[in-house]
Subunit: 341 residues, 2 copies
């Protein structure tokens, strides 16, 4: 790298608005000073106030004003087409013009995907960009893709997802030879739906892949593979199911403990142990999901991203740019195509 | 009912074999004496020993010998075709001949589905039987179908799943006007895959359905609907994801607590509260999943079914027969067809 990554952030995206984002940027600068610059895009007066409250004076943060914003409930495709002056639209345009090296938004996921696809286009030789989510587990975590960019997929897309996920696991998670699984409803080759049956031989034949065969929903949360490929419909359902089961369990425990003084004392004693568990399965430390395969660097955050989540997102985005992940994705997909042809 | 339900159980199915099944049957007789009879099918000497250990003398339990058994890892379709003398094959045949009113197996799920489809056939006017799983949640639970009988589905199947699931929720869970949701990746009509887009208008048009529109993975674990319909691939993935997330959380907490004496004391204090939570999300109390739409009554249990799970399965199967659920399914599907035609 000749220069440090210039990261653009949608200051209006996310449930907590500019203040969580300003706080997160300040946390990130404290953690990794000199490794990146930030441009915040959105309502300038609001952003300036948030930066002031976050004590951001003197940090390399630029502000670019945008007149519109895309709401969480807006229809993705329409918002992407019509709101070119939204914080997200302006951000994407700046990236396209080369004024930013990466963009991040914790806003409406569908709108970010649609805006990025429309504004940035695809990496050469990538058929369909895919949204890759990190699922924490005791083995260090699994990358699942696609989790929502393509509700309908062809088998050939899944092979590209496998390559993109492998590159991501190698450079961002430090896995040497990432194990790739195909999400199915049984490990046997005879189980699955039509997409699984078509994808299996293609994945087996693909070069440069450490493909381990079919895996099940439970393997996402075990140390059996580093990358799980699936269509964006199934992947999205897995993501939301996992989040809600974990949330439901903790909510039920909290509510039962609340009326029970002995149990409340119990949780105090358990706090260090529970905190260790939470660290292992900490969504906030992996809150930014890359849209792999776009001609640019686009990360999407959870709507409920806190300042800690924003900090970890900036860390991930910086590493992604530093390690030139997109170049490796292009090389890997082209290498497979060359040998397959 | 002129007579009490005669329930046949695959004594060789499940990880704990005849002893868990004999114990479970005895528990069920203690809970509901005179409401059902049991026939155990499998290795007779082994079953007799298990019954003796379970103090089952004097209870209305018959034993039918079967020479073969289907292993958990066997290929479903092949086992269903070839092993007609397996405990499962004999059980299904007895049901077909009218000597049993219902059958239950905690064995190889795929083999039970295949054997039941092959041996019993479909209810008149049902296109595809579906496996329905109960997912416990604070609202009392949701029925999800299909969770594995049909990896590929047409939109018209999903409409029938909605009817079958509604009938099940009405008669087995006591829901007056069951709310039915279509599993998708967003509540908006514009989100989903091709199957969702095709199913949505059909479900809206269907008669006798309280259809509430698209729902997400998280709705399975909230009190937003009583029935969630989806294809058997997605449903199976949801089921396994949910199980494994819950399992992972408890496993991590247990392992962190183990090395921490204060935390161990904490769990002792929390035990009553945790037990209340476990009761609310108790899989064992809903361990039997019906294969709805077969021309007979076939329930499938989790391989790890304990004697408690077997007891609750017998309770559910008995209720299913007593309430003549199959007749209601036939009526409901025919009524929709008549008005739709």
């Amino acid at each position: 790298m000749t220069s440090i990554p210039r990261i653009g952030i949608d200051a209006m995206g996310g449930d907590f608005g500019p203040s969580a984002i300003a706080d997160g940027a300040v946390l990130a600068f404290r953690e990794m000073p000199g490794r990146f610059e930030v441009t915040l895009v959105g309502d300038e007066p609001e952003i300036r106030r948030a930066l002031k409250r976050a004590h951001a004076d003197g940090l390399p943060i630029q502000v670019v004003h945008a007149t519109e914003r895309i709401e969480m409930a807006e229809k993705a495709a329409a918002a992407a087409r019509k709101k070119s002056q939204s914080s997200l639209g302006v951000l994407t345009q700046l990236h396209k013009e080369g004024k930013l090296d990466a963009i991040f938004s914790a806003g409406n996921t569908g709108a970010v995907v649609a805006t990025a696809l429309l504004g940035l286009g695809r990496l050469e030789s990538v058929s369909r960009p895919a949204l890759a989510a990190f699922m924490p587990n005791p083995g260090g975590g699994t990358v699942v893709l696609d989790v929502g960019a393509n509700a309908e997929c062809k088998a050939s897309y899944l092979v590209q997802f496998a390559h993109m996920g492998s590159v991501y696991a190698r450079y961002l998670l430090g896995r040497d030879n990432p194990r790739v699984g195909l999400l199915s409803i049984g490990e046997e080759d005879t189980k699955g739906n039509d997409l699984v049956f078509e994808s299996l031989p293609l994945l087996r034949r693909a070069n440069h892949l450490n493909f381990i065969g079919n895996v099940e929903g439970r393997d996402v949360f075990r140390d059996t593979c580093d990358v799980v490929v699936t269509d964006g419909f199934t992947g999205n359902v897995v993501l939301k199911t996992a989040e809600s089961v974990a949330g439901l369990l903790f909510q039920r425990i909290r509510s039962e403990v609340a009326g029970d003084p002995m149990a409340m004392l119990g949780t105090v004693l358990m706090k260090p142990a529970l905190r260790r568990v939470m660290r292992q399965i900490d969504w906030e430390e992996h809150a930014a999901a890359p849209l792999l395969g776009v001609n640019g660097v686009c990360f999407i955050g959870h709507g409920r991203s806190s300042s800690r989540a924003i900090r970890s997102a900036i860390r991930t985005v910086t590493t992604f740019v530093e390690k030139r992940v997109n170049e490796h994705i292009r090389e890997e997909i082209e290498a497979d195509r060359d040998t397959a042809a």
